[in-house]
């Protein structure tokens, strides 16, 4: 069909035909961009806007300037919001401890990177906690931790250790939840490393072996550099996962005991949509703070990707 119009008469070629290469990408992009703009890009701006207001989600918004932020961060004569402070420190705990999933995943991947009989089934069974929804993981672990019925305390009793109520203890609860989160996340990192190990250049390994490299030295100088792409993705997904933690907290403790397991994402939800009333303005201010924390990481990820993109050209 295009050959007819191209061959017959140049001047009668439609405007579209003449500009086909320039227009087509935009036509293809349009639906995705429209959806993404309406549901993702614009709401970010709206949230920032709402955070400067007092709003119950139904009535009129009242502009109150930066009052929400002042209350949140304790600027001026007010004290910092205690709940915000706890949430922030818990987020930090999540971030640091969640990253243990990366070395743990590498360790299991190295353990499973063999070719014995049935190893494929082992690999998929090790991986499959990741496929289960976080809600179910949360339930499973909260039953695992139960003081009376839980398996954990049954095991501890064998060793003579007293029963611990992990999720009921404000000093332990957050760590208990993070441990539950590490379970699927480690599985994720493991699969990233297993695929990475598959691609390791066997000739380099053999050459290093001839040079006498073994064990840790081999791992550090020969293997890990080749696993760099896997490590990068493992870090990205783990950091984002840590800052997004919500499901587990909501299911396992609902922020308690005494609000000790709140994180920013959960606190925001609680302020905006809980039974205590709809404080959407204040909630949005918390979301904006979380957003800026994440933006730091996102900026770094994008920068590394951009660098790779430049090299690829």
């Amino acid at each position: 069909m295009s050959s007819i119009s191209a061959g017959s008469n140049r001047t009668t070629r439609s405007w579209y035909k003449r500009n086909e290469i320039a227009i087509t990408p935009w036509l293809f992009l349009l639906p995705a961009m429209l959806f993404f703009a309406i549901y993702v890009i614009i709401p970010i701006g709206q949230s920032v806007w709402i955070s400067f207001h007092q709003w119950d989600g139904l009535g009129e918004k009242t502009y109150i300037g930066t009052a929400n932020y002042e209350r949140l961060l304790g600027i001026g004569e007010q004290k910092i919001d205690r709940k915000f402070e706890t949430s922030f420190w818990n987020n930090l705990k999540w971030l640091v401890l969640y990253l243990l999933a990366v070395p743990a995943g590498l360790f299991i991947a190295l353990f499973l990177n063999q070719t014995v009989r049935g190893i494929r089934i082992y690999k998929s069974l090790f991986f499959f906690p990741f496929v289960i929804s976080q809600v179910v993981v949360g339930l499973v672990f909260s039953w695992f931790y139960l003081p009376r019925e839980g398996l954990l305390n049954a095991i501890l009793a064998v060793f003579g250790a007293g029963p611990v109520n992990i999720l009921g203890d404000p000093t332990l609860a957050t760590y208990g939840i993070i441990a539950a989160g590490l379970w699927p996340q480690t599985a994720y990192c493991m699969i990233l490393y297993l695929t990475g190990l598959n691609a390791v250049d066997p000739e380099q390994v053999e050459a290093a072996r001839l040079d006498g490299a073994k064990g840790y030295k081999m791992l550090w100088y020969i293997i890990l550099p080749q696993l760099k792409p896997a490590t990068f993705i493992a870090f990205v997904v783990t950091i984002i996962g840590a800052l997004r933690s919500f499901d587990l907290i909501s299911v396992m403790t609902n922020g308690g005991p005494f609000g000790s397991t709140r994180v920013l994402s959960f606190y925001m939800f609680e302020e905006s949509l809980s039974e205590f009333g709809f404080r959407m303005g204040y909630g949005s201010a918390i979301a904006v703070v979380l957003f800026f924390i994440m933006l730091g990481f996102i900026g770094y990820f994008l920068y590394s990707m951009w660098r790779d993109e430049k090299e690829a050209r």
Binding site: M1, S2, I21, T24, P25, F28, L29, A32, F36, Y39, V40, I42, P43, Q46, S47, L110, N113, Q114, V116, Y122, S124, L125, P129, I132, S133, V135, V136, L139, V140, W143, F144, E149, L151, A154, I191, L192, T195, G196, A199, P202, L219, I223, P229, A230, F232, D247, S250, V251, M268, F269, S272, L273, G283, S284, A287, L290, F291, M294, M305, W306
Partner: protein
């Protein structure tokens, strides 16, 4: 290969590896095994404190039967299906097109738009929560399946576009050029040249998005309320309050809720893993 293949090690090494392997697996899956055990026990075992002994009778059929016939569980499962499947189709379709545009054409702003999709995909959900909930209410779609589907399609498009664009970039470009020289229209190039080559990417994304959406909890809580539209992840909390402290039933319920993505994973393992590594680790 690293570490040293076990066949090249001593006999003792090989035997101990074979022995450790199943033990490590049992240890790893212990919480899950515990729940599976719970789900086949009779209620009497919990009353008598027989938590960890063998089940005094085998009650799998009656426990799972209760989940399917005496609760809202089937309704929740159906809702989850009706949310997940349209989302998968929508997100994959949109991102195929966007990925094609970003992967094949050079134009001003290409990289910028691409990075917007990536960045949006990493954003915390909470910054979208209030406006998206508002929008959904004003569209009259609060507490409806369509409301959830529309949002999920939009949000997943970010991740899918990242994946598709990288996949299309790796396709042989001369193929497209050859088609152009032949005078094939651009949309035909997409439909007849590029799309058939994207089959593995389509499969990988479909499985992955299925799992992501099935397992979503946050948006289910924000955008829906009752059994009419709630997916199984949100429904399970209501289910649990119906059977409070009946651990055998709650365990059976959780296993049912978790099963579809697990089945999907075991059926389409290869595609699933290809998707997870974002195509970056080959």
């Amino acid at each position: 290969m690293f570490p040293t293949p076990i066949e090249k090690r001593s006999r003792n090494w090989q035997i101990s590896y074979q022995v450790i392997l199943p033990f490590a697996l049992i240890l790893w899956l212990l919480p899950l095994i515990a729940v599976a055990m719970f789900s086949i026990k009779p209620a009497a075992d919990f009353a008598n404190g027989n938590y960890w002994g063998l089940p005094s009778s085998f009650e799998a059929i009656s426990n799972y039967g209760k989940v399917f016939f005496e609760s809202n569980m089937p309704r929740y499962l159906l809702n989850s299906m009706m949310i997940t499947i349209p989302t998968v189709i929508g997100a994959v379709a949109l991102s195929c097109m966007a990925g094609f545009a970003l992967g094949v054409y050079r134009f001003k702003g290409n990289l910028f738009i691409f990075f917007m999709f990536i960045a949006g995909n990493f954003v915390p959900f909470q910054i979208l929560m209030v406006p998206v909930r508002d929008l959904t209410i004003s569209l009259g779609m609060y507490d409806s399946i369509q409301g959830l589907v529309l949002f999920h399609i939009a949000f997943q498009t970010g991740f899918c576009t990242l994946f598709m664009r990288n996949f299309i970039r790796a396709l042989p470009y001369p193929l497209i050029e050859a088609a152009r020289v032949e005078g094939v229209a651009e949309w035909r190039i997409f439909w007849y040249v590029v799309l058939p080559l994207m089959k593995p990417a389509l499969a990988a994304l479909a499985v992955l998005i299925f799992t992501f959406i099935w397992n979503d909890y946050f948006w289910a809580v924000v955008l829906t309320q009752g059994p009419s539209a709630q997916p199984v992840t949100a429904g399970i909390t209501e289910f649990n309050s119906q059977f409070r402290a009946a651990y055998h039933l709650m365990s059976a319920g959780s296993i049912v809720a978790a099963l579809p993505p697990v089945a999907m994973f075991f059926l389409m393992q290869k595609h699933f893993i290809a998707g997870l590594t974002l195509g970056a680790v080959k």
